[in-house]
């Protein structure tokens, strides 16, 4: 459904904050290019620019509307009118955290480069700033034309950062990164053009506006192709197995700050693309593709972890661990329910923090010793106790220890996967017997969960080999512990890791409504089941929590307990909805549902919006004749395997 649009003026701002955020770095870059000469001046200036950008981005938080899904701080103006391209920027619950992550990591990355970069300082900072503009532009753009422009702009500075300031094989890595990503983007461009012309044919309007495409009714055979084209483009960026091999090369060769940005933000472009475009634009194709996508995600988790285990190079190890972690993110997104998607987005942030932190940590000793080989180290804890503590905390965050950020993401993703997988692939696979599919999906979650065991193994093993044992290598004996600037690059990450781990609510509440909306557009059944459950929880919530055991928990005999009866859960939430029973007729009495969800429910009931109507046809068995699409969505709860 088309979300509400609130311009920056509506939100009480006098200036277009998103444009400012996007262009402050590029303006800074121009100033550096034209006016600044001395290296130290440039360093100071670049640090100030990113800091200003970060502080300004904090302005997005107060006043951000969280109780319903809305595009906020919007700037919308015609741009190339003959093509229908607009200048359309906005943030919503899906992108705001990523934006904050970008400006935040931007500060740390620029700060961490202070001594690491000694030649071509000017050009380096120019490219760093340009990169930031490109990334922010991608997250803000709500017009495909503009999006694509930023998407490509972003590649160029990264290419130079790797190619100029990189390690020994920098050219190979840079070209690989560039061409690989470009190949994906070209496919995506084709898909965008496909959508563009399809939209033109259906409505007679030339427009690249993303939200207008949401409501389109795309025939299944076209959806599949468009989905695949987007998928390849995004999967390369994520990177998903088997499109991941550019990543270790790029990471190993890139300078520290480049790795931080690459892991922290650039990879998120792919996952962001899935949430923003692939899922809501092509819901049926998503369903159709689900088993394959999940399989690739799970392979990525296990494969990335196992490959990471045996890497001799710390940066390569962390790079492969990224493949594993992003496998989790993709699994969450493909779970297509509230916990999965929300956990997936949170895990994007978590991964940005912990992996960004890990690259900083590795960069710190690389700068001192000019090697990243694990075997060159050992016993560093004796020499660098402060470093040891910070490294440990970030390692634990990456492992997903409860009370640190990684846990919340991983657990909710797996939970989402668990909820979803009991039912989904079953359906979508179609050509497999139903029981097999259930077993397979269980297997998938089991494998994915085994990723947390492997994750602990490879990270702790690396930590042990680098930090524990005796200090034997004489070159390590003179290592200095961290200085204040270096501590300052790590402390903010650590604080956020704890914050998200212990009190994630401030982060989660940004996403709730937006994610619910995305789920509703892609997988309405899951969203409705979720809402129903929330409503039941609200009604069952014992009024007197506290001293005595809430007697409200004691349910009357015949009454189904808090959730649906267990036996029926096995095939999945589907059973929550009686077969043939239109999901629209939910009991009306709601004490205090969050306003946003209530609004969504209303809209759903009325079936007003274009997109929603499609969502409905998608669910009703009678509509099966309507294109070849909808089989995917309904598993027959009674187990007539039918589809195809």
């Amino acid at each position: 459904m088309t979300p509400e649009i609130l311009t920056y003026a509506d939100m009480g701002l006098k200036w277009p904050i998103l444009s400012l955020l996007t262009y402050i770095p590029v303006i800074g870059a121009i100033i550096i290019m034209l006016f600044l000469r001395r290296d130290n001046t440039i360093r100071w200036f670049a640090n100030i620019v990113v800091l200003v950008d970060f502080v300004l981005s904090l302005r997005l938080i107060p006043g951000f509307i969280i109780d319903r899904h809305a595009l906020q701080f919007v700037e919308k103006a015609p741009w190339i009118e003959s093509l229908g391209a607009q200048y359309f920027l906005g943030v919503d619950g899906i992108s705001i955290l990523l934006v904050l992550l970008t400006t935040f990591l931007g500060v740390l990355a620029v700060l961490s480069s202070w001594t690491a970069i000694q030649d071509r300082v000017k050009e380096y900072y120019i490219f760093m700033l340009l990169l930031q503009t490109g990334m922010l532009g991608v997250f803000f753009s709500l017009d495909f034309f503009l999006f694509y422009v930023f998407w490509e702009i972003m590649l160029v500075p990264m290419y130079f950062l790797i190619g100029v300031w990189g390690g020994p094989r920098k050219l190979y890595a840079a070209i690989k990164f560039f061409l690989y990503t470009l190949a994906g983007s070209v496919l995506m461009l084709l898909a965008i053009l496909g959508l563009y012309f399809l939209h033109y044919r259906q409505t007679g309007e030339l427009s690249f506006e993303v939200m207008k495409y949401y409501g389109m009714d795309i025939p299944m055979h076209i959806q599949r192709w468009l989905f695949l084209a987007f998928f390849v483009g995004f999967a390369i960026k994520v990177p998903m197995f088997p499109f991941h091999t550019w990543l270790p090369d790029a990471h190993v060769e890139a300078p520290t700050a480049g790795s931080v940005i690459l892991a922290g933000v650039l990879l998120k472009m792919g996952t962001y693309g899935f949430v923003r475009f692939s899922l809501p634009l092509f819901p049926q194709a998503t369903m159709w593709f689900l088993p394959y996508g999940i399989t690739l995600a799970v392979i990525g988790i296990v494969y990335g972890a196992l490959t990471a285990m045996m890497q001799p190079d710390m940066k390569k190890l962390v790079a492969y661990s990224s493949v594993s972690h992003l496998g989790f993110v993709m699994l969450g997104l493909f779970a297509l329910n509230q916990q999965g998607v929300e956990g997936g987005i949170l895990q994007m942030i978590n991964h940005g923090l912990s992996t960004g932190g890990l690259f900083l940590v590795v960069g710190l000793i690389y700068e001192r010793r000019h090697t990243r080989m694990i075997k060159d180290f050992g016993g560093l804890s004796h020499q660098m106790p402060l470093y040891a503590i910070m490294f440990m905390i970030i390692t634990l965050s990456s492992i997903g220890l409860p009370s640190l950020n990684g846990f919340i993401g991983e657990f909710t993703i797996l939970l989402g996967g668990f909820k979803a997988l009991w039912m989904k692939p079953v359906v979508a696979l179609g050509f497999l017997p139903k029981e097999w599919a259930t077993n397979m999906s269980t297997l998938m979650v089991l494998l994915a969960t085994s990723g947390i065991v492997l994750g602990a193994a490879y990270m702790l093993w690396m930590y042990q080999r680098v930090m524990f044992g005796k200090l034997e290598n004489p070159k390590n004996m003179e290592l200095k512990d961290l200085n204040l600037r270096e501590v300052m690059t790590l402390i903010p990450i650590i604080i956020l890791c704890f914050w998200i781990g212990i009190y994630p609510k401030p982060f989660l509440r940004f996403m709730d409504a937006a994610v619910m909306n995305t789920v509703l557009m892609t997988n309405p059944q899951a969203a409705l089941a979720e809402m129903k459950q929330m409503r039941e929880m609200q009604m069952n919530a014992a009024p007197g929590q506290g001293m005595e055991a809430p007697s409200g928990m004691q349910l009357p005999p015949g009454h189904p307990p808090i959730s649906m009866p267990g036996q029926h859960m096995m095939p999945g939430q589907q059973s929550a909805m009686p077969p043939g029973h239109p999901p629209i007729s939910m009991p009306g009495q709601t004490p205090a549902m969050p306003a946003g969800h209530e609004a969504m429910m209303e809209q759903f009931r009325a079936g007003e919006s274009h997109g929603m109507r499609r969502g409905l046809t998608f669910m009703e068995p009678a509509a099966a004749g309507h294109g070849e699409a909808p089989e995917a969505a309904h598993a027959d709860p009674h187990g007539h395997s039918g589809d195809k």
């Binding site: 690989y180 490959t307 285990m309 916990q339 909710t412 065991v453 042990q464 979720e530």
Partner: protein, 707 residues
Amino acid sequence: MALRQVLDYIWLIPVFPLLGFVTIGLLGRKFFKGKTELVPSIIGCASVFLSFVTSVLCVLALRHIEPNAEGVRVFTREVFMWIEMGAFRVPFKFQLDPLSSVMILVVTGVGFLIHVYSHGYMHKDGGQYRFFAYMNLFTCAMLILVLGGNFLMMFIGWEGVGLCSYLLIGFWFGKDSAANAGKKAFVTNRVGDFGFALGMMLIFTNFGSLDYQTVFAAAPHTLAYNGAIVTAITMLLFVGATGKSAQLPLYVWLPDAMEGPTPTSALIHAATMVTSGVYMVSRCNALFSMAPKTLILVGAIGAATAFFSATIGLAQYDIKKVLAYSTVSQLGYMFLACGVASYTAGIFHLMTHAFFKALLFLGAGSVIHGMSGDQDMRNMGALKKHMPHTCWTFMIAYIAIAGIPPFAGFFSKDEILWKAFTYNSPVLGPMWGKFLWAVGAAAALMTAFYMTRLICLTFFGESRVSHEAEHHLHESPGAMIYPLMALAVLSVVGGWVGIPEALGGANHFHHFLAPVLDKAALGAHGTHEAASAGLAYAQEMTAHVGGGGEAHSRSLELLMMFVSIAIAGAGIGVGYFMYIKNPNIPLLLQFKLPGLHKALLNKWYVDEIYNFAIVGGTKQFANILCWFDANIIDGTVNGVAWLGRTLSSASILFDGGVVDGAVNLVGKIVEASSNVLRRIQTGYVQNYALVMAIGVFVFLSIYILFR
């Protein structure tokens, strides 16, 4: 202030040690290092002591809480909403009921004594501030584990104690063996946590909640008795328990964990953390009692572990290793109790074991301290005269673990064996209980034997202490001895709270815990609610009554008690005979049965098998994947690049020869023709206009023709 209001401050119980951790951790390196090592000790001990006092007050205050519908006095307090995603809501919630009361008292009480002891043990270590910081963090995590009001809270503590265990095992990280042992502990525990996490997900998908009260209240209605789901849930949770509580097949990390400082072994790897699996199973008794198949597994694993690790304990020479295997074995007893649905007995043994095993470890630590770090019992002997206090406290713990009345271990172990003997499994019938009893009794025999061996080798017999070591040999300082004495008292009287009715006792402990753990004992609360649940409870209820009437069962119980005392006596006697009377018998046996001895000494080669099959296998597989990644996947990418380059080279050739040749040819033609055309360039505008008009005409006609 009314006592009841203390409960509002229940969150202080874990917060005190947390504050201790933060203070020592943040300030430690700068301020507490070196000379001022007293400061971290004081902070570390004081925080746990405050926590202990608060715990006592809270437990007393719990008596003022009215029992709920199920007859349980339970207090819950939500501190804040932790995770909220759609219908997935997990508050940060504390729950105090009799079960968690027992646990917090054990954790803070024994924990405090061990903290005091640590001050003596760790002084002059240099890393003392670090040690106390970790110990406080551990206490905090353990308290969250037992006070949590939902599964995810338990999981925070669960992984938190795992982390502290990792940090403390690897406390002397300069030693490779310590660092390895720490990692092994963490990763093995993660394997268990994998099961725990999956179990939680299954619980959430079925109950829509992770809250204890909600889940346990709904379980009888929601899940079928002995159904697939409840069996799956409990099995998965039990996998978690086997990891944390070092049961087969995941016990391998615990003996290695002895690399940590001895107070750590006492607190974490004997008294508290390793028992959290037992706590978890008992906490989920509502679920486990509905899954008789899982109970059989729990009982089988418990009995097997009790037996198996006792055999290994027979032949170890490292004093701490013997105690480690003994711990594994005793944990097996606790699971055996859970496996016969006698959770109270399990928790009872958990408590008494915490007293006497902590005492054993601390005593061993005192011995090691006196021996200047040597742990090999072959280098000890006749230490009694050098360390009298250590010796007599150790003796008390030894009698307690051997199972001689009226010491603590007797009552708890005997209750377990008795419950096993009378257990009537809903699936396998009464013989299953008898079988478990037999295995448990055999393990008890071995326990008495290897503990006697340990005592004889260490404190009695002839001294084998080297001259140098003898010179340094000394009794430990007061900070270490007083905690030993306190624990010795507890090891004697600790069991008296649970003296069975058969001996004229009141069994207070049982009645205290029964509302939480033994719903059957309360009478048919669940019976009319749902048929399936009623069946479950009814079966559990009949399980322990035994065949005949009450009197008959009493006399049988007394008889069995004598049997277990006889077994303990036999073990002690054989040990005494072999290690004091005829010290060459062990050597003779060693000589006669070299294979068996070697197998026992090498712990049945389990570590080697695991290393080869699991660790080696995973690494090998990972190596293959690395090769696959570098050559196949990346090879494909590079192959595509190569193809592109080759095509481009080919096209360069083509370009140079054919295309460029053609272009050059055109150039030549142009050159030649320009010689001709040059003449057209007359400079007259009219001529140009003419040519232009012709051109336009030609193009237009082409356009029209070919349109």
